[in-house]
Symmetry: C2
Subunit: 406 residues, 2 copies
């Protein structure tokens, strides 16, 4: 979190609330778009429910009382009570009920949101990892049978795996208790990170992963010694059964007989949390490292220092030339930043760029005055001198097989 | 609003709050992305401030009291008071103050958000046109001089004009009072719509537009008779001056002398309101019409009715063929919907497609069993029979000169 502050990515406003400054917001845009692509590939359709949910709706499932301490609640000018939703099982069940009659032929339906959620944490901490307002994916499956629910659950798990693979993050799917949510079973999605507050055991032999509990450190699947890792929960998925659909009369019409309660499943990913957790997992104490797919910019170009020989030779001309060259690589289009703080030395700005963790850093140093001009190009930590033409070739090759989430 | 309900686009939850169902949400995604492109072309950078703003911050500018009736407020578990922000002048001024020292060399800065805003309307009405939770663009300029503020104001006005042109909407920029916001001057952006609650007068001779007030119906600019139009306010822009920066000590360092208060400007567009207003302006009582750039899907394909001759001949094969053909047109990729309600006649589904207002409707009717198969293609209301190859040619030509907002 200190690095996020130092790098000008976030600012706290009051306890547990954060402003995402432009670079962080840009990374979040990329992450949200990647999540949309992955989740929609499973057939999910986006919708938006109001953040203000009628408190009466939550009273019907008993959660208004059970979750009261962590709910932010308010009254409107007519003294009607609302809560700022942390999750939407009730609201989705009410919507399904409102859409009656739903035929079994119309199921399954998968609906999702990407929106801000609210939780009045007793002690907000670790910055974006436990904020009171946070961006979250929440998806809901509506099914006519348990078998169908399990099929959709499998499809959504595949979408999660695609997402984490696209981010090059090692996220472990572990069985978990369903807790206050109810339902028959659930999985947490845990990202290994030394600063994490959770603990999981991962078997090096059979890859089975589980929450670390009092059943010891052996793998429950193959019996071998498991590895213990600190981790951060970035997602949670549930088969909910009929808890919410029964309470809110969300039914479907089967081929024959009376309407039956819809079987529900739900799927969450803490998006701002995932952003922060991936930085926790990949960065060092001194420098940020991003999953490449969500780095605020893929490349930064550092121009010569004002008054230097290079500045007098070509000013910003070489910067513009490199900028155009990079933008000619389709994968980098509109994703290149120019560091125009000419008052600072190249060395100082190189240190700042390294700290921020841009995947590609290009400095117009001494050799930019040679013929042909050559630039100091650092890709994934390795530096080389190359011409604009060589640079385009290297990057075109590098991004030729871009891993998309499909 | 009735049509929006009938077409399954929105559902009210409680008074003034709406669920955007998948088709409406998809249109909103398109509109938000278009707004991002237009606004960023003016140099604006996106950020996200928390929706929960400390009430104390608004007390400092006097707006906590002045706007109290329309503010949704709450207390957290520690009895700290917050409001759900309808707008962010205070929060932006606090952020600028927090980023001190800002040099005049760093200005102007333009920051923007796309997020949900809140207003506790006394009588929410007209559906999305006056909701209590709504998606809104809010942008803020920080300037070192009035001249610079005016320059940025002009740039943002150009971005607005690009946006409305991309939507093919006739939006009039009219001088307006600054009201509670303060500042030196402002403009409203008014979309002509017979159902609108505002009135503007537009001069047919010199195109000057103004709010209709007691200064009569003559053009204030050229003196000729002006036309009176009903209209809907979709945007509002202000030069704010130093009201907020003085109250919250947001200063910059000029070339010499002590720090000075930053001159601010701000820019709003009600995004869900614009979506609804554009439908109000373009639709009839019986059928929705969308700005093409934000129709939920550009095209819909209607397959044969189950049991018909065509169904028995080729089932869904022709639908798949047309689907692939449409997706081969770059502008239509991933923007084509298949109406697979085989139980309904083609005629009934054509009526529904017309009511929903898809720009391109393709029916696999009787001629889809001919050799070569031909489809009933309706583009902008005109119907013709064509083969898949002809269809691709027509649409490739139609979309060859797509108007982007750049």
């Amino acid at each position: 979190m200190v690095l996020l502050l130092e790098c000008g990515l976030v600012r706290p406003t009051t306890s547990g609330f954060f402003t995402l400054l432009p670079l962080a917001r840009r990374a979040l845009d990329k992450l949200e778009n990647l999540i949309k692509t992955c989740i929609e590939s499973s057939g999910a359709q986006r919708l938006s429910l109001p953040a203000l949910t009628s408190a009466g709706l939550w009273a019907k499932t008993g959660r208004l009382e059970n979750a009261a301490a962590e709910l932010l609640t308010l009254e409107d000018r007519h003294n009607k009570k609302y809560l700022l939703a942390p999750t939407y099982e009730e609201a989705i069940a009410e919507l399904l009920s409102d859409l009656k009659p739903i035929s079994y032929k119309q199921l399954p339906i998968i609906l999702y949101q990407i929106s801000n959620k609210y939780r009045d944490e007793l002690r907000p901490k670790h910055g974006l990892l436990r904020a009171r307002e946070f961006s979250m994916l929440d998806a809901y499956g509506a099914h006519a049978s348990s078998d169908c629910a399990l099929q959709v659950y499998g499809r959504m798990a595949t979408a999660y795996e695609h997402l984490f693979r696209a981010l090059h993050l090692k996220v472990h799917k572990v069985e978990a208790p369903s807790g206050d949510m109810g339902g028959s079973f659930s999985h947490e999605w845990q990202l290994a990170a030394t600063s994490g507050e959770d603990q999981i055991k991962v078997c090096p032999s059979c890859s089975h992963a589980a929450l670390l509990n009092d059943e010891g450190t052996r793998c429950q699947s193959c019996g071998k010694d498991a590895e213990i890792l600190q981790s951060i929960e970035v997602g949670h998925t549930f088969i909910l059964g009929t808890k919410y659909s029964e309470a809110l009369e969300a039914t479907y019409c089967p081929p024959s007989g009376p309407p039956l309660p819809i079987i529900m499943s739900c799927y969450g990913i803490g998006i701002t949390r995932l952003l922060a957790a991936s930085l926790e997992a990949l960065s060092t104490e001194k420098a940020l490292r991003w999953p490449k797919a969500i780095a605020p910019y893929s490349a930064i170009i550092i121009g010569p220092k004002e008054g230097s020989k290079e500045w007098n030779d070509h000013g910003m001309d070489q910067v513009k030339l490199v900028y155009d060259a990079l933008n000619s690589v389709p994968a980098l289009r509109s994703d290149v930043l120019v560091d125009d703080r000419h008052g600072l030395t190249i060395g100082k700005r190189l240190l700042m760029a390294d700290k921020m963790g841009y995947p590609i850093v290009i400095a117009c140093g001494k050799e930019s005055s040679s013929n042909p001009p050559r630039y100091e190009v650092t890709i994934d930590g390795a530096t080389q001198l190359c011409t604009a033409q060589e640079l385009v070739q290297i990057l075109s090759d590098k991004y030729a097989h871009l891993e998309y989430c499909t």
